[in-house]
Symmetry: C2
Subunit: 458 residues, 2 copies
């Protein structure tokens, strides 16, 4: 009798405590949801590859029975960062040719180095190095434009990272294709191979308007749409690109690409430095996502993208570090957030331009929208993929802490990231990779360095 | 007979192996000497507070008999970084009021927060927090403008750090002085107390032209010269400062200060954003050092200082993070180096503007020249003070390594600093402070946070 009475009391509690795979708790949970909720003493419950719930620690502890838990009382728990533009395997060329004019950089270093060194195997190790750095620094999704993307995809997947990977289509012979036709064939095989992959979104990446024929550009769009895949392209990165387009086509690159139908489908355009008001209206009406790359645009002296205006128009803007061989030297979204905010302020003369909140949103939900993945990633909300990061806030450079978003953007560093989950799987624990072997990757990177140095013109 | 013969052979070797306190070895030694030598498998010998020799590891191992040694085969050994402008105790206000217009920031947050919270004890703990962060991040010398500088000096010295500390002189009542007269009296006592100190250079810091009377400015200069001390001042930080000076004085701030005799002696001018060619000619002829603060100038939307032009004119330029309460959020010279190079490139449209070498020089020898300490610090050369840092280059974000200076400026982070020596004394070992108690400092910072939040207008 007493037992039955007790079980009546206990049963509801047991029934309510749903099993989950993980309960993650932190000092603050930054959701980046529509209301920009920041939850003090917060928690996230994860079941399988998805977020089951987000709330206060005390509430979620009542509701869920976790199989495992991770408590980081000195950390912020936030959505994983989203890189919307890079060239991952170029990690092996990191800093090989800095402080040069674009033409010298390309013609004396990058093109010869690529011609002599880029193979599938190069891309394998370059990707491992890049993915290792990105995961350790809190990036959970990246967007790539390079060669041998099927190898890049296999390595990214093996490391447990999410990515949108664009097979390059370009009008001259490159490492993995002698012609654009060959590149398009490769791209289609890649799109087929990774259809419906939980981590990899295969994409088509015609390099730019000035390196492809109109015919190749159109065929790239048709191919992307056939597989409902994104198209990735460089757009108005330099003034020269714009000037040449206006001279040759009597139209800006955006106007010309739009007329070619290039934006009729999911599109991610990198840079957008020289977009004017007419271009921005097109970008907005076609729902083209912009990958803003402040480090690269500053370092190569390309110019300053009109990001404040883009955001006020409601254009989707994400962040990208670009490649680490000249344009930048690392894959560090904490630096891109900080720079995006600061560059917008000095460019507009308005310290309120691009707030910490907006910069953090660009690195998370903004990036997700740019990639067309906003229903899957970019915020901590029930039902979304469990891509999340812990950022430690116990060190001197982040104390005292008054405003969580401000601290994340202006004070936190990639090196403060302690734990990373992608698709419900922990891939970094206490600053250590769980899916890659750093010693092996670094030894191989050094071997490539020696081969690359030997291959350069003396 | 055999013994005597042996001793003849051994004696010269023993005589040559001079005793030193430290032999420090690294994969690369970046000297920042006149020839910008980078020594592979290099070493530095330290005797007492000075560098005894710099050379290859094999050479220095033959020449010296070290009492202790530190071998970091995966690191760069470089001069300690020099911060030429900050407000250290404001660490306790880190990020309290970001993304605001200057007037709102000052009037709604900083002035009320300072009025209610800044005491000698506040400066003690704020300095400890700042010095802890700076030392861990590779800064070995900093330059301050704040209140209660004698407390700041005592704490800095106790932590084993070098600094140029300017007692603020300002035309309205502040935390440590009701009048400029009182501030000048405090400043003189401070100059006397720290005369000939091995670590502390006491200075006079009239805040700016627009916050002091001409009389106070002149008396500040006279006082500084009496003690052969530097004078620190904010100069042409905002367009408004320039416009007001031109309206009121029919002269730019630089012209007006020069006419007042303010530059007739060692002077460090912070910012210099709005200096024109006439101003730059004055700055150059008076040998005024400029503390360039790229983060602050971007974040507050102050403008872009003409650094490329300053360097081409041979003006001494150093770097400063400015204060961490609005202008910036940390004391991170790795970020200031990176930004100084990138900002100059995008501002001039020339990717060759401010190279990695020039940026690293600004953070070391350039800073030393700005402070008038170029014979003592700023480079690794025999006879100089032993202020040096080890920067680890074994992690994924700094591999592979092609160019040492490029990597230091564009890829290395403050968190890569493992070991720091100031004046021959090791103050950071393996990323841990040897002179401050982080747990105590952070607990106190958090207590101040709560008091500061209570003091703010609701």
């Amino acid at each position: 009798m007493i037992m039955r009475w007790l079980s009546c009391l206990l049963l509801p509690a047991l029934v309510l405590a749903e099993p989950v795979d993980w309960l993650l708790t932190a000092r603050y949970v930054v959701t980046v949801d529509a209301r920009h909720q920041v939850i003090e003493n917060g928690a996230v419950a994860v079941r399988g590859d998805r977020i089951a719930a987000v709330g206060t620690r005390s509430d979620l502890e009542k509701r869920f029975q976790p199989r495992r838990r991770l408590d980081r009382p000195q950390a912020i728990l936030a959505p994983g960062l989203i890189n919307t533009h890079t060239h991952a395997p170029m990690s092996l060329f990191r800093g090989i040719a800095d402080d040069l004019r674009l033409q010298d950089w390309l013609e004396k270093f990058i093109f010869p180095a690529e011609a002599k060194n880029v193979t599938a195997e190069f891309c394998r190790w370059g990707t491992r190095l890049a993915v290792l750095e990105m995961l350790l620094g809190g990036t959970t999704t990246y967007t790539d434009m390079y060669y041998f993307e099927e190898t890049i995809a296999a390595e990214t997947k093996a490391a447990g990272m999410r990515a949108v990977l664009g097979q390059t289509v370009i009008g001259f012979p490159v490492a993995d294709a002698k012609t654009p036709d060959e590149a398009l064939v490769r791209a289609e095989a890649f799109l087929k191979a990774f259809r419906n992959d939980p981590l990899i979104t295969a994409a088509v990446a015609p390099h730019a308007i000035y390196t492809n024929s109109d015919e190749t550009l159109r065929r790239s769009r048709v191919l992307a749409n056939k597989y409902d895949a994104p198209l990735l392209i460089h757009l108005s990165e330099t003034r020269r690109e714009n000037d040449e387009s206006r001279a040759k086509r009597l139209a800006s690159p955006t106007q010309a690409l739009s007329a070619l139908g290039l934006f009729d489908g999911r599109t991610v355009a990198a840079h957008g430095v020289w977009l004017d008001d007419t271009d921005l209206a097109i970008i907005r009406s076609k729902n083209v996502g912009i990958a803003h790359c402040p480090s690269s645009n500053m370092k190569l002296a390309s110019g300053i993208a009109p990001v404040t205006k883009m955001l006020s128009l409601g254009i989707n803007v994400g962040l990208g570090p670009d490649g680490p061989a000249g344009s930048n030297n690392d894959f560090n979204l904490f630096e891109e957030m900080d720079l995006a905010a600061k560059l917008a302020k000095v460019a507009t003369g308005d310290p309120q331009s691009v707030s910490a909140r907006q910069a953090f949103e660009m690195a998370t939900m903004g990036g997700a929208r740019v990639l067309g993945l906003e229903r899957e990633i970019g915020s901590l909300e029930a039902g979304k993929r469990a891509d999340l990061i812990f950022v430690q806030v116990g060190k001197p450079h982040v104390q005292p802490l008054y405003h969580v978003e401000s601290q994340l953007v202006y004070a936190s560093k990639a090196s403060d990231v302690s734990d990373v989950f992608v698709n419900g799987r922990q891939v970094v624990r206490g600053g250590m990779s769980l899916t890659l072997n750093p010693a092996e990757v670094l030894a191989k990177a050094n071997a490539y360095r020696q081969a690359i140095l030997r291959s350069l013109p003396q």
